[in-house]
Subunit: 397 residues, 3 copies
């Protein structure tokens, strides 16, 4: 085993095959576009803080695990010393310009394909195609169900046409998508009744919904209707259905709704819905999940159609992410875990997600090999499955 | 401290007294019978996957933490090299035959007494006596409450006789048992009203129940009635009452019921019931618990009559189990934790539960000694208490 | 880096600046008074067990992580060898007398300021001023809201005057306090409706409440009224509002109420209330939180006004506390975590809280530096912020 060089991404010496598997291109199976333009310090801080708000007076979001990781790991990508100060980092960022910074960081992530949720309603972010171009990778689109529903709700149609138009619109957008994605966790929580709602209840709920179409979808009946309509499209098109889970997006400016507390994003609440989908052959991908990632790994272990992606928790926990991955790997079948950065806004989070996925997994695999638990060949195979192989199989890339 | 040999079960060098305590016979205070006959590859995979279902096409349940551990640790017990392939392993398993494999693995677990829940309605598994004979250990029976109730419900008696016959049957079966066990978590969740239901409500619920006696018990009123009837027998016979907790059995073919999501198996939900039992002197043993094992350890810390067993999570997390044990040991009093494999179906899980209990505990104790936190004498004493001493005291073995 | 001496509190060698920051005086931002008088062995055991009950027959609360830490770390403070037996320890404790023991342990904690919740209704404990005097530290008082409400309820006034007198009493006591504190988790759980209750509903609830004034406050309407009245005082006085969270106090003699299960102390349940306070500028400090500390760290990350203190879990998990701190540090902004011992009853828990805060943080910081993740300067700054700087800023000490 060669010693790793100090400038290398892997923190421990590993057998060549494992090292190669970890450094091979990843499939980033869930991310969002990053901002295409330069931003102020305050704007940048809002992108890297998990809450999307400014840091309290006298503090900075650079004083977070992700902020420290940006200074440590992204600074060299921009030609700076590790641990550069926030001021130096942002000044260099401005000097290079957003396009060059995005190019360096997205390429530096070492990703061969991005699956991009372009439905987060934020202006000024790169499209999936642009993410691919700057990142020297393929790019496909993930359709965000609630965005489709919002468009339908705002189209000014009568309640009786709501279900039909939603079905048509989902089919249309699903035809060019790699996956469908739900943020039901943010709208009514994941503890919804797993059954398909009756036609009558949907028409009644649609009537209420269309009386205030600019409001966000929150009615559990319509959330369930949307999900089951999506399941129909997913079956027809063999598309996986992704679910946002876990604590992310609950801050004051996040997409989590006022009346829904974070504990309702526990994927264990999805047990009934996942069970209902079991006979249908629609893969379900649990995104993010932290701090309920063990629950997600369990579901992936017992339901043949369930997958798990520790998602943006890896980028945000940064130096602490090895432990998160270790917990996912306690139970998850090796053919059920996937990599996704879950980044949005800042290309730094795309880069850090990939870096800490590799660093964290390197630590876990290194330990397993050193303890005699897993063979070198198995460790290399596991790294490959989680990094790209499982996603290529599930999304048929 | 001598260096451990590579073929030894303990992963770190330890003082002799600690080593001896870890290698001493265990009491497996909760397990199920393993299959007595040979099985196909598909059948074996279903036994080792947590969900009890086949692996998705193109994948294998050997690609799980438990599957990797079987290839690593059980292969040598069958005379193979560590990390033998799944095909080689299964071929050797067939060659030796189920009885010889069971004999080697059950004996290899190093267990002096098995407490066996024989009420899981699966054909072709060893009886408690057979488990003991093949494992060269004593064996006692755990009475599964819901099985007793099912038998009573199916006996064709009028609703007015339900409570009386249930009481009599529990008393009868309790008379030859080492413990009683509830899977209320799977039937209505652990958030049930902790009070004893009224006689009237029980008769009414029994009427509904007996109209469809083949259905599984799920009515919370009858679950509570069953638990309180069990408490009466437990008090009389000084029997502990075990509770299945945590994420296990929620897969498509598991015993978890369709309408009950996994989060309802959190033992923290039992706070009220445990509090109600506090004055009665009936020990309560929380089984499995993962990923809510910290909650269980807390309850064991604050209630004098509560115990905890990390259970099948140890066998299933395998190489990752040290971390699970480390979390249980964060709060649990040393006289409150017990060992149980929770195995069912495959003798491999009985063997791995014991092996990884010893390996995981060895790591935690080794760290505590190295950090100067616990003395060698204390570490040895703790290993003994958790491995066998506490169970011998609680079950009066 | 110098080697640490075996008698030193830090378990790993660290750069001088980090070492100095860790050994600098702490602000203990949440604790209770410790007993001023000598006690029996049984009495002492009840103080150190988390449940406040005697250990089961044949066992001892010294056989817990905290008990083992007392023998290891407090024994030398009393002039004994590390790992002294419980009997020797208690005999030496009696010989020195409670005042001298308290003086040694409180001083040994290395605290420059105590914030003391004096509202826990336990006789024979040191006042805040006495805690300060014996600990050679400043001391301020935390007002326990439910104690104020109890006093008001017992004052024998008509329901129409309840709200006014509560407001006046909170304002009066708040005027000389460093913070306000709620144990709503113990009274109705943290899942209460976050909105301010209507005047009419409060008067109606007060009428019911005053019919049995000796009972403990449990009505969610009055709990919410108390919290919003406290928010008014907190805004006026710029006082932080502390919330007891997590599993602590649910034992048979704890302050957790019979009808409230431990899972209702999950701070994620506070999402809505915290969101409602976001525009008001009232800092919210989540206390204890274990095993929901990741949820608390997340809330501290996304809400500018939320802070987290892992609290008594550090003293009680003792040798295992580094892992708990590691999990808090996965997400928490460095300017949002604070130190508090949460001790009550036994000065040992005050000492151990501080010791294991330093030891645990030393391990995490040592790892981060060794892995090249954080710079030495950052690590020192983080240690200082968490240990004292953040509390000095938030409480304006």
């Amino acid at each position: 085993m060669p010693e790793p060089r100090p400038d290398e991404p892997l923190p421990v010496p590993l057998p060549d095959a494992v090292r190669a598997a970890l450094l091979a291109p990843l499939v980033d199976q869930h991310c969002h576009g990053v901002r295409r333009d330069d931003t102020t310090r305050s704007g940048f801080e809002q992108l890297i803080g998990e809450g999307g708000t400014p840091a309290p007076p006298g503090t900075t979001h650079f004083d977070t695990p992700a902020g420290a990781a940006i200074r440590r790991w992204c600074a060299p990508v921009l030609g700076l010393e590790p641990h550069a100060s926030a001021t130096v980092y942002l000044s260099r960022r401005a000097e290079l310009g957003a396009t060059e910074v995005n190019r360096r960081l997205l390429r530096g992530a070492g990703v061969s394909a991005f699956l991009v949720d372009a439905g987060l309603d934020v202006p000024g972010v790169l499209s999936p195609a642009e993410m691919g171009r700057l990142g020297a990778a393929a790019a496909d689109e993930i359709v965000r169900l609630e965005q489709v529903e919002q468009d339908v709700a705002e189209a000014g149609l009568p309640a009786a046409d709501y279900a039909g138009m939603l079905r048509d619109e989902l089919a249309l957008r699903g035809a060019r998508a790699a996956a469908l994605k739900s943020v039901a966790a943010h709208r009514c929580g994941l503890g919804f009744d797993p059954s398909r709602p009756s036609r009558g209840s949907v028409i009644a709920a649609a009537g209420r919904r269309l009386a205030d179409p600019k409001a966000r979808l929150a009615d559990p009946v319509l959330v369930r209707h949307l999900l089951w309509a999506a399941v129909d499209v997913a079956r027809e098109r063999s598309l996986p259905l992704q679910f946002h889970c876990g604590l992310s997006g609950w801050g004051p400016s996040g997409t989590g709704d006022a009346g829904v507390a974070g504990h309702l994003a526990d994927p264990a609440l999805l047990t009934g819905f996942v069970r209902a989908l079991a006979p249908l052959g629609v893969p379900v991908v649990l995104l993010h999940c932290y701090p309920y990632h063990r629950q997600a790994a369990y579901l992936a272990g017992v339901f043949p159609h369930v997958y798990v992606d520790a998602g943006p928790a890896v980028a945000h926990t940064a130096a602490g992410s090895a432990h998160v991955l270790r917990e996912v790997l306690e139970l998850v079948p090796f053919h059920k875990q996937m990599y996704g950065s879950g980044c949005h806004g800042a290309a730094e989070l795309c880069f850090l997600g990939a870096l800490h996925h590799r660093r964290g997994l390197a630590r876990v695999l290194g330990d397993r090999i050193a303890e005699g638990e897993w063979s070198t060949a198995d460790a290399a195979r596991i790294a490959h499955m989680i990094g790209a192989g499982n996603a290529r199989r599930v999304y048929r890339l």
